[in-house]
Symmetry: C2
Subunit: 302 residues, 2 copies
């Protein structure tokens, strides 16, 4: 295992560019105020700046770009979805949840600050995401604003990510069938990755037929991503990951690796990636970045 | 002190009606699913059904009603703001925050369930609020949806409630001046009460001049409400409150009562209520409920 950059040349460049843009975006949008809220903003900055692969922003900007949406507009929506992703990690890392001391190679928010600040930073990031999406300066068309909010809210809430996290906790130590594990992972991780694609499509005013293919792509890479995450937890390198690994088995987490074994899980992830790429068949070269991204998901080492 | 109903006859009836409607609304919108998310929905129901004065829903529905908005439509928006209020209480009660075991006369969510479920139930309620507001079935006009979201997101986030909570924690044990305490309380409590009024005005498509008076009303009753809350913590009855009292002084919280003493704080609250009612001068009898509500805020015993 190595932590050298992976993926094709298009993807390597896109990952570097999106990481820089996301960092610059949060830096500009979250100046630390000179009052008793300073600690909250510092914690929100800690959670959002300098770390993470930025897959959701990349997906959103790439899909929006396929349909002629400018990068600046797409980046605003990308910051909103990344804020939700960051909030979920801050709350996930809390002692009463997964109790993780490290995230992205630095102390998690409740370690760098404290638990109360971590709870509030997560809450603040979620509200902030919807502030961004409902801002008429960024998105002048109220229909676009409302649709973006609807998409992100459903994907984040009890019918999406939060619901998946509850299933994950409830399922610990139980023997879940493959169908239930698939559903759990689709809610926990797939919903937000799917929302990234969907929000790009909303910005691009894509009709429902085009959205159907993109949703298929998102669903497949979402599941492949989760399986590869489970495999990395099972056999990955802690330095490259920037967090503690080998925690799933200890916690009795219901993962594809636990259910299928590493080898069959890996085959499953590869099959999903092939299927994801097939959903892009009616796109030409302009979708090459999305194809590279799909392949990267099963090749990455962190 | 007595726990008999208070307020004028209009208000007593309105409080009973809104409590029934809010309970029925959450009951209908949060059916417990037959999967691993059941615990999440049960916790969200515990946090939202059967308890609380429902002041924010009442304010929203009353202001919307002043401008001809039907109760059914206004109630949807009212459930969204109450979901945000409920989420803030669930997270506030956590051991790492205020560590409160009782809320509305029953165990707080982390006591009735567990801490992880309480974190997720809060997160789920916040996302759920924005799901409601961005639902085109409830609010067919996308401009209304986007404006409602914008108003609630700003009031809930770092520029509003969450920011105020951070100031509250940061300020513990410090000697804050009256200006800073006022700002803290305006963010912590006033922002969401103000949003209730503002959201009613958005639904009623009120022009900005009309909104200015209503915002003044909301700001004044918000501050009066916080002072009366501090007074109740200082000298109230725990049975009537349904939660532990006398916690502010122990925690070194920066309140109006701590800064001014009980008597001057009470005078201040009464002056704010008079000022709030003055903002309604250009309204006739139809605003009587809002006047009764303002008076109730300093007369209530819980």
């Amino acid at each position: 295992m190595t932590s050298a950059p992976q993926g094709g040349p298009l993807l390597r460049e896109a990952l570097a560019a999106i990481a820089a843009d996301v960092d610059a975006g949060f830096d500009a949008l979250l100046p630390v105020p000179d009052d008793g809220r300073a600690r909250l903003f510092e914690a929100m900055r800690h959670a959002t700046i300098g770390g993470g692969k930025r897959l959701r922003p990349l997906l959103l900007v790439a899909v929006a770009g396929l349909h002629g949406v400018g990068r600046e507009t797409a980046m605003r929506a990308a910051l909103a979805i990344e804020a939700v992703h960051a909030f979920s990690l801050v709350h996930d890392d809390l002692p009463c949840m997964d109790d993780d001391a490290m995230r992205h190679g630095k102390p998690s928010v409740h370690k760098a600050f404290d638990e109360a600040t971590a709870v509030l930073a997560g809450d603040g990031l979620m509200a902030f995401a919807f502030e961004i999406l409902s801002d008429s300066q960024y998105f002048p068309d109220p229909f676009i604003r409302a649709e973006l909010v609807r998409c992100l809210a459903v994907a984040s809430g009890p019918a999406g990510m939060t619901g998946g996290q509850m299933m994950d906790i409830t399922g610990e130590g139980q023997e879940l069938d493959l169908h239930t594990i698939t559903r759990l992972q689709q809610l926990k991780t797939g919903a937000l990755l799917g929302a990234a694609v969907e929000m790009g499509a909303i910005l691009g005013r894509l009709p429902s037929e085009g959205r159907r293919h993109l949703r298929g792509y998102a669903l497949d890479i979402g599941l492949a991503f989760q399986i590869s995450d489970d495999l990395l937890d099972h056999e990955g390198d802690e330095d490259a990951a920037g967090k503690a690994l080998r925690k799933d088995a200890a916690a009795g987490k219901q993962t594809f690796v636990a259910r299928l074994g590493a080898e069959r899980a890996r085959e499953q992830a590869r099959a999903l990636v092939d299927q994801a790429i097939a959903h892009l068949a009616h796109h030409g070269h302009e979708a090459e970045l999305l194809r590279e991204l799909a392949r990267y998901i099963v090749e990455r080492d962190h």
